[in-house]
């Protein structure tokens, strides 16, 4: 929960979130921070005006929702989140192959993993089609509701 000791990480979501909160709190319409190659620029509110330069109109409707998507480069991937509290298993047993692994192409019906809760092993369908980009949780790790489990690139 403590702030990351990273010296200059402008993509630190917490920091960006705090900046956005600051903007909301004070009703700011734009905020632009640069340092060397680093830059954070946030605008919010009504009509976003042209910038004159043929720039990239950054801006996104402020108030990044809780759980916050990064403010950085657009991320096309979709995340499969845990629909319950429990223990994550990538396979149905210690000797069986994992349901999915990085590089697999999957459909929405495909079982992505198992979440064990109260001795019940719940098969979690992927709910999305695409290519598996990353498994975000260790086998056997506890997961909370809404926790990102598997990253899928729907265009992959």
């Amino acid at each position: 929960m403590s702030d990351a000791p990273t010296p200059v990480d402008i993509f630190d979501v917490k920091k960006v979130r705090r900046l956005i909160e600051l903007m909301k709190e004070h009703d700011l319409s734009e905020l632009d921070l640069k340092q060397a190659d680093n830059r954070v620029r946030i605008r919010r509110g009504g009509e976003v005006v042209a910038y004159s330069a043929p720039s990239a109109p950054v801006a996104r409707p402020a108030a990044t929702p809780a759980g916050g998507a990064a403010a950085a480069a657009p991320d096309r991937t979709v995340v499969i989140k845990s629909p319950m509290v429990g223990t994550f298993y990538k396979a149905s047993g210690p000797d069986t192959p994992p349901f999915v692994k990085v590089g697999d192409r999957i459909g929405p019906e495909k079982t992505a993993c198992i979440i064990e809760a109260m001795k019940v092993f719940n098969e979690i369908p992927a709910g999305v089609s695409g290519q598996v980009v990353a498994i975000l949780v260790e086998n056997g790790a506890p997961v909370e509701f809404g926790q990102p489990l598997i990253k899928v690139d729907p265009e992959g």
Binding site: M1, E21, A66, G67, M84, V85, G86, T87, A117, M118, P142, V143, E144, F145, G146, Q147
Partner: protein, 447 residues
């Protein structure tokens, strides 16, 4: 003692349990819904686990998820707080079947006191007075008159299928009863398709007085005297105090003894509250048991010096209560005001939102129990309690003065609260003279 427990609740009471645990050296796992993500009290827990979306039925009320969280959080027991699953005996049973301690009474005791009928039977068994009335439905007008004369006028006719005041009539004498009988049965028949009526003694302007009990698993049940919660608005308690300002000592003692008898008869341990109504002649009648810690528990803590939450946890861990009834003497007078996020100018409509700034009152005799901090957003999904302001002083008069001082010091900016209503009550002569019953606040607001 437990090493680690889970708190199956949120807000003020979750923070209250965390505080007790930190003092006991017990680790805590907090659960939260997405609406409570980032709430400041969660940082004080050793672990926090999201269990679902904002809707309580998808998070705080989901037994499976709470139990799963307890399992992955590796706890030995669960504290249910108040509301949510706290009086759900099925939940207590599931805990037991999963070998997780439940910080509260046994499911059996909870059931025994939880069901209206069995609670009334229990009270009779324990020799605790209940509101006099017919044992079941009344056959006809003649029987109604006979029973009414037995229990004494005025009486209340109630539709057995009733609700919302329909099929309900008060009768002050037998003439009135005759017409009331006709009207009530006709109305009940029309409204519910069931003309069944029963009779209860009608208690005019009752006071709400409750006894705090505390028992351990070794057969000890103590009482921590009473709280008076007559200052209510639409059956919502606004102000609670201890001692009850107008109660004769002999009655107080009888009520406390009755509550202990009832708890013992039910095999009840942990903290609990036995609620009574008291009529204008100081007759008291058992109403129900609250088988959990209550919002207003701090007033009993202040006058007795006993930390109820710590006691509750110790008892659940099997410890024997190191108390003597004779030593539990109330000292001074305590009052609690519930500070709710409600708009007094808009008929007390809940008023959730961001608290731009909060300054809590302090100083002698002031206790502030609140999970709200500057920047905290009161979510719209749950009850509107923002904090509890409790004062403790040698006398009721001084307690009122301190409460007024503290309420005026409290600053909650960004949302509306019930503070103005509290100040209005505390400035009222009837309140000062303790001429308060459960109809007082509405009469005051109407007048």
């Amino acid at each position: 003692m437990f090493k680690r427990i889970l708190i199956a609740n949120r807000g003020e009471i979750a923070l209250r349990v965390i505080r007790a645990c930190r003092e006991l050296g017990v680790e805590t796992v907090a659960i939260y819904s997405e609406a409570d993500r980032g709430a400041p009290y969660l940082e004080l827990a050793d672990e926090a686990i999201c269990v679902g979306t904002a809707k309580a039925s998808d998070s705080y009320l989901r037994i499976d998820r709470v139990i799963s969280a307890a399992e992955i959080g590796n706890v030995q027991a669960i504290h249910p707080g108040y509301g949510f699953l706290s009086e759900n005996s099925h939940f207590a049973e599931v805990c037991r079947s999963c070998d997780i301690g439940f910080i509260g009474p046994t499911p059996e005791a909870m059931q025994r006191v939880g069901d209206k009928n069995s609670a009334r039977a229990l009270a009779r068994e324990a020799g605790v007075p209940t509101v006099p009335g017919s044992d079941g439905l009344i056959a006809n007008e003649q029987e109604a008159v006979r029973i009414a004369k037995e229990i004494g006028f005025p009486v209340l006719l109630k539709a057995t299928a009733g609700g919302g005041g329909k099929g309900m009539r008060v009768a002050a004498n037998d003439l009135a009863l005759a017409s009331a009988w006709q009207q009530a049965s006709a109305e009940a028949q029309a409204a519910f398709g069931n003309a069944g009526i029963y009779i209860e003694k009608y208690i005019e302007r009752p006071r709400h007085v409750e006894i705090q009990i505390l028992g351990d698993q070794h057969g000890n049940v103590f009482h921590l005297w009473e709280r008076d919660c007559s200052t209510q608005r639409r059956h919502q308690k606004l102000i609670e105090e201890s001692p009850s300002p107008r109660l004769p000592q002999a009655i107080r003692q009888k009520m406390a003894d009755a509550a202990v008898r009832l708890a013992k008869t039910a095999g009840y341990y942990s903290a609990g509250t036995v609620e009574f109504i008291v009529d204008q002649q100081d007759n008291f009648y058992f109403i129900e048991v609250n088988a959990r810690i209550q919002v207003e528990h701090p007033v009993s803590e202040m006058v007795t010096g006993i930390d109820l939450l710590k006691a509750q946890i110790r008892v659940a861990a099997g410890e024997k209560l190191d108390l003597k009834q004779a030593d539990i003497k109330p000292r001074g007078h305590a009052i609690e005001c519930r500070i709710n996020a409600e708009d007094p100018d808009a008929n007390f409509r809940p008023c959730p939102g961001r608290i731009d700034r909060i300054i809590a009152p302090g100083g002698f005799g002031v206790r502030w129990d609140s999970h709200a901090t500057t920047g905290y957003v009161v979510p719209s999904y749950y009850d509107s309690l923002v904090g509890k302001l409790i004062v403790h002083q040698p006398t009721r008069k001084e307690a009122i003065e301190t409460m007024i001082r503290a309420l005026k010091e409290l600053r909650v900016e960004g949302i509306k609260t019930t503070v103005p209503l509290h100040l209005k009550v505390l400035a009222n002569t009837a309140f000062h003279e303790a001429q308060v019953d459960t109809t007082f606040v509405e009469r005051m607001l109407a007048g």
